[in-house]
C-alpha cells in the first residue's frame, strides 16, 4: 500500500504537508509555529507557553468550552506543546470529522480573544504547573544546569518561564506575542491519515488562503560563546536520593555531527526514539553506562537525551545514584566510560545494533497516525522534512572513526556542566 506524500506552499506563505495513510479511519492534523522559549527575553520568559494555554480560551466563533466539547463528542483528541524552537497544536479525529480541526486552527491563528479574566485565571494555572514541576528534584537540577549552560543564548531559561515573569506579564504582552508570531508565513501545517490529497488541499486552501501574511518576526540571535572550562553546581532539596546531570554542549540538529552524537547516545545510554505518541521504548540494560554504573551498583538508573534543536543545545546524561555512593565516585566511573569511548576502537557491530534499534522504534511508532503527522512537521521546525527522511540513512553512514572524533570533540570536561542534586535528608519527626 502506497502512502501519497506532497508539500504545498500557499500564497500567504503557509506551508502544507500532506500524507495519505489508509490503515485506520483517522486523520491527524497539526499546525506548527516557529515560536518557542528561545524567542523570549528577560521579563517575558514563559510567554510562548502561556500563549499556547490562551489559544484554548476561545474566539468569537468558538467560545472556550465549545471546542473541547465538539472534539470530545467526536471521539477526537487535541493538545498543544511549547518547546524551545516551536509551538504546535494538533487534533486527531475520526476521518469524517476532521473539518472541525481545519476550521478551528484557521480561526485561532487570528481570532483568539485573550480575555482579561481568562488571562488572570490561566496565570495561576501556569504557576501551578510550574509548582508541580518544582516538586521533582530532576526538574530543579535540570533547570539549574540549563541556566548555567547558557549565559547569552535564550535556551537559558525553562520553557515554562521564571515565576517572577509569570507573576508580572499582562494581557497585552501575551496578545502582542500572539499577533507577532501566529501568522501563516511563520507556520507549517502537517496532516496525515485517511483522506484524499486533492480534496484535503482544496479545503485547506479555502480556509487558510484568506489569512493575510504578516511580517515574519526576527528571532533572538545571541549565540552562546564557547564554554571556558567545566562548570559544576549543586542543587539541594529534601529526600534521600542524589542525582547527577552531566550536560555537554552539542551542535544543532542540522550539523553533520548530530548523527554520530545520536549513535553515541545510543551506545552510552540506550536508544531514544523521535516519536511523541505511543510505540514504547527499548530498555537500555546493555548500554555502556548501564553496565558501568548500574551493574557496578554505583547508580540505580541512567538515561540520556539529545535534543534536535535549531541552535546548539545540550546532550544530557541523568543518573539516579545508589545511596551507598557519592556523586564524585559516580562521576569518576562515568568519566572512565567517556575516555573509553574516546580512546578505544568501537566495534562496528555496536553501530549496526544502534541502527536496528532505531529502525524498530520507527516501525513501532508508525502504527500511530498522530505520530505520522507529528513527524511531517517536526523536522521543519529546526531543519527540513528531508532531515527526517534521511535520518536512518545518516545514522547508517556513521563510522567508528566518526564516533571517536565526535566523542573527543564534544565530550570534554571544558565543554560541560556537571549538576549534582544533593538530598538534604528527611525531616526529623
Amino acid at each position: 500500500m502506497k502512502n501519497i506524500f506532497s508539500t504545498h506552499l500557499l500564497n500567504n506563505g503557509l506551508k502544507v504537508m500532506l500524507k495519505e495513510i489508509h490503515t485506520a479511519p483517522l486523520i491527524s492534523s497539526w499546525i506548527w509555529y516557529r515560536v518557542g522559549s528561545r524567542d523570549e527575553v528577560s521579563g517575558h520568559t514563559g510567554i510562548s507557553h502561556w500563549c499556547e494555554h490562551m489559544q484554548f480560551k476561545g474566539t468569537p466563533q468558538f467560545p472556550p468550552s465549545y471546542l473541547d466539547r465538539a472534539i470530545s463528542r467526536d471521539g477526537g483528541i487535541w493538545n498543544a506543546f511549547t518547546y524551545f524552537d516551536w509551538t504546535t497544536y494538533f487534533e486527531t479525529m475520526p476521518a469524517e470529522k476532521i473539518d472541525l480541526s481545519l476550521r478551528l486552527e484557521a480561526d485561532r491563528m487570528v481570532n483568539s480573544l485573550f480575555d482579561e479574566k481568562e488571562v488572570a485565571s490561566e496565570r495561576t494555572v501556569v504557576i501551578s504547573e510550574r509548582e508541580g514541576s518544582e516538586n521533582e528534584p530532576i526538574f530543579l537540577l535540570g533547570e539549574a544546569v540549563q541556566n548555567a549552560a547558557f549565559r547569552s543564548h535564550p535556551y537559558h531559561h525553562e520553557i515554562i518561564g521564571d515565576l517572577t515573569d509569570l507573576k508580572s506579564m499582562n494581557r497585552d504582552d501575551l496578545y502582542g506575542h500572539y499577533r507577532s508570531f501566529y501568522i501563516p508565513n511563520n507556520a507549517v501545517m502537517s496532516v496525515a491519515g485517511d483522506f484524499n490529497t486533492t480534496e484535503m488541499l482544496s479545503r485547506i486552501q479555502e480556509l487558510y488562503t484568506q489569512i493575510p501574511a504578516g511580517i515574519a518576526p526576527a528571532r533572538v540571535a545571541r549565540p552562546e560563546p564557547a564554554a571556558r572550562g567545566e562548570h559544576r553546581l549543586t542543587a539541594e532539596g529534601p529526600g534521600e536520593t542524589a542525582y547527577l546531570d552531566i550536560s555537554y554542549h552539542t551542535p544543532a540538529a542540522n550539523d553533520p555531527d548530530f548523527f554520530p552524537l545520536t549513535v553515541l547516545d545510543s551506545l552510552l545510554t540506550g536508544p531514544s526514539s523521535l516519536n511523541m505518541f505511543g510505540g514504547g521504548g527499548i530498555s537500555n540494560k546493555t548500554s555502556r553506562l548501564y553496565r558501568a554504573l548500574v551493574e557496578k551498583e554505583l547508580a540505580v538508573s541512567v538515561g540520556g537525551g539529545l535534543v534536535a534543536t535549531a541552535d546548539p543545545y545540550l546532550y544530557s546524561v541523568v543518573i539516579t545514584l545508589n545511596p551507598n555512593h557519592t556523586p564524585e565516585e559516580v562521576l569518576t566511573a562515568f568519566d572512565k566510560e567517556i575516555v573509553r569511548i574516546q580512546d578505544e576502537p568501537i566495534p562496528a557491530g555496536e553501530i549496526s545494533r544502534a541502527i536496528k534499534q532505531a529502525r524498530a522504534l520507527f516501525a513501532y511508532s508508525s502504527e500511530n497516525i498522530t505520530n505520522q503527522a507529528f513527524w511531517l512537521g517536526y523536522a521543519e521546525m529546526f531543519s527540513t522534512y528531508d532531515w527526517f527522511l534521511n535520518y536512518l540513512e545518516n545514522l547508517s553512514r556513521v563510522t567508528p572513526a566518526d564516533l571517536q572524533q565526535v566523542a573527543q570533540r564534544y565530550f570534554r570536561p571544558q565543554n560541560r556542566v556537571v549538576g549534582i542534586f544533593r538530598p538534604t535528608g528527611l525531616e526529623k519527626k
Binding site: 485506520a24 471521539g75 524498530a360
Partner: protein, 424 residues
C-alpha cells in the same frame, strides 16, 4: 472520502481464541499494516499472595524474572532483546502479574522463548537480587517524596482499611528489606504456573502460527501446586469522612485525592458509572471538575476524576495538585461538585456528549497493535465476549441519566469520603 484495507473493530470473526491443555488462553488478531508484533498478558500470581511482613514479594519476584534463567544470564537476555530492538517487561498487580513485549515480527519466536524461559526457569542469582533490591528501595524512597504517589497510597489506605487492596503492591522499605532470595524462589515455585494465564498477540502474523509458537514454548508447562487466589473479604464502607495528611517537607505543591468506593468491572453499573465519571471529571478538558477547579478558579493545572474498576471493589476519586494555600478551597469545590453529582446526576445533553465520546474514540484507541492487545486482554480478564467492541456502541447508547444517577448514589457518598492530602 475513499478508504481501503483498514481495520474494523475487533470481533468474533477476526479474533482467534484458543486454549492449551495446561490452561493457557491465547488470543490473537492479525494486522498486516505494520511490521511489528505486540504481546501482552498475565499470570495469576499477584501481590494478593504477599504476606503483610513481606509485602512487595510478588512485585520483587516479577521484576527478578529477567535477571537470569537456566539458559541465559541477565546480560545475555537483554543483549538478545535489545539487539533485536525488542522489549519485554513484567509488573505485578494485586491479582495478576502482567507482561508486555514487542518486536519486529521476525523476532516473535525470540520474544516468546524469552517469555517462556523467564516465567518457567528463572534462577534469581544472588548478586542480581541484591542489585534489584537496591533499585527497588531507591524507587520507594523517591515514592516517599512524591506528593501524587503518597496521596494515592494514603487514599487507598483510608478507603480500603483492612481490605487487602489497602496495601501498595510495591511494599514498604522494611518489608522489601526482609525479602530473601529463598522467598523469591519459593514464591515462584508455588505460584507461577499456566493455570489462569492469558497471552494476547497482535501483529503481522497468522493466528495459527502464533498458537503453534506459544504451544512450543509454554505447552509443556505445569504446576500442580498453583493455589487459588485467596478469597477477598467484604469491603467495609466508611461511616464518616476520614481525612489523612502526609507531610512532605520542602515541596511546592500539594496533591489531593478525594473519593469513595466504586463498582467492580463486571458489575452491571460499571458502564453507567464510567459514563458518569466522564461527565464528572474526564470529558473535554476534564469534565465538571476541570471546569470548576481549573478553568473557573485557576486553582490547579491537573484536576480530574477517575473510576478504577477491576476484579474486586473499585474506587471512584477526584485528584488535583494545588498550591498549599489553596487546599481547603479546592477540597470544598470538589465536595460541592460531588454533592451536585449525586443530588442531580447528569443532564441528557452531558450524557449524550460522553456517549458520543466513548463510541467515537474507539478507532483511535484501537489503531495500534498495543491498543488491540489491551482490548483483547480486557475481553478475557472480564469475560466480556469476543463481540464486546462490536456491541459496545449499542451498550453505551442504552445508558440513561437515571442509570448514571443510580450508580452515582450507590457509590459516591459526599458525607463519607476518603480524603488524602500529601504535601509540605
Amino acid at each position: 472520502m475513499k478508504t481501503m484495507n483498514r481495520q474494523s473493530l475487533p470481533g468474533q470473526d477476526d479474533i482467534t481464541r484458543t486454549s492449551l491443555s495446561n490452561g493457557i488462553t491465547i488470543l490473537t488478531r492479525s494486522n498486516f499494516n505494520s511490521p511489528s508484533v505486540v504481546i501482552g498478558g498475565y499470570l495469576s500470581c499477584g501481590s494478593l499472595f504477599d504476606p503483610d511482613e513481606k509485602l512487595g514479594l510478588a512485585a520483587f519476584t516479577a521484576e527478578a524474572l529477567l535477571r537470569g534463567s537456566r539458559k541465559h544470564t541477565f546480560q545475555k537476555i537483554f543483549d538478545m532483546l535489545e539487539s533485536a530492538g525488542a522489549s519485554l517487561s513484567f509488573s505485578a498487580g494485586g491479582h495478576t502479574v502482567g507482561f508486555t513485549g514487542r518486536a519486529l515480527v521476525e523476532d516473535l519466536p525470540l520474544l516468546l522463548s524469552l517469555l517462556a524461559d523467564s516465567v518457567r526457569h528463572p534462577t534469581f542469582p544472588d548478586e542480581q537480587v541484591e542489585r534489584l533490591r537496591a533499585q527497588i528501595l531507591t524507587g520507594l524512597s523517591i515514592r516517599a517524596q512524591d506528593t501524587a504517589d503518597m496521596a494515592a497510597i494514603t487514599f487507598d489506605q483510608i478507603l480500603y482499611g483492612r481490605h487487602p487492596y489497602a496495601r501498595p503492591n510495591d511494599g514498604w522499605p522494611e518489608t522489601v528489606q526482609s525479602i530473601t532470595r529463598r522467598d523469591l524462589v519459593e514464591f515462584h515455585h508455588l505460584h507461577y504456573g499456566p493455570r489462569g494465564s492469558v497471552i494476547a498477540v497482535v501483529g503481522a502474523i497468522n493466528p495459527g502460527t502464533i498458537a503453534e509458537q506459544v504451544e512450543a514454548v509454554l505447552g509443556s508447562w505445569h504446576n500442580p501446586s498453583q493455589p487459588d487466589l485467596p478469597a477477598l473479604p467484604e469491603l467495609k464502607l466508611l461511616k464518616k469522612t476520614v481525612t489523612q495528611k502526609v507531610r512532605i517537607q520542602g515541596k511546592f505543591q500539594t496533591d489531593l485525592v478525594i473519593g469513595s468506593s466504586g463498582p467492580r468491572r463486571k458489575d452491571t453499573e460499571f458502564l453507567s458509572a464510567s459514563l458518569g465519571n466522564s461527565v464528572l471529571g474526564q470529558f473535554g478538558m476534564d469534565g465538571r471538575i476541570g471546569e470548576v477547579v481549573r478553568e473557573k478558579s485557576g486553582l490547579a493545572y491537573t484536576a480530574t476524576s477517575s473510576l478504577n474498576a477491576g476484579i474486586g471493589p473499585g474506587s471512584w476519586d477526584v485528584s488535583a495538585g494545588v498550591n498549599p494555600s489553596n487546599i481547603q478551597k479546592a477540597r470544598d469545590l470538589i465536595v460541592q461538585e460531588l454533592t451536585r453529582f449525586v443530588d442531580q446526576g447528569v443532564t441528557a445533553e452531558e450524557l449524550s456528549d460522553s456517549q458520543s465520546n466513548f463510541i467515537g474514540r474507539l478507532p483511535l484507541s484501537l489503531e495500534s497493535n498495543a491498543g488491540v492487545v489491551g482490548a483483547l486482554i480486557n475481553i478475557e480478564r472480564f469475560d466480556l465476549g469476543l463481540d464486546y467492541y462490536r456491541r459496545y456502541p449499542e451498550m453505551v447508547r442504552a445508558v440513561t441519566p437515571e442509570d448514571v444517577l443510580t450508580a452515582a448514589r450507590k457509590y459516591l457518598h459526599p458525607d463519607r469520603l476518603a480524603v488524602a492530602v500529601a504535601g509540605p
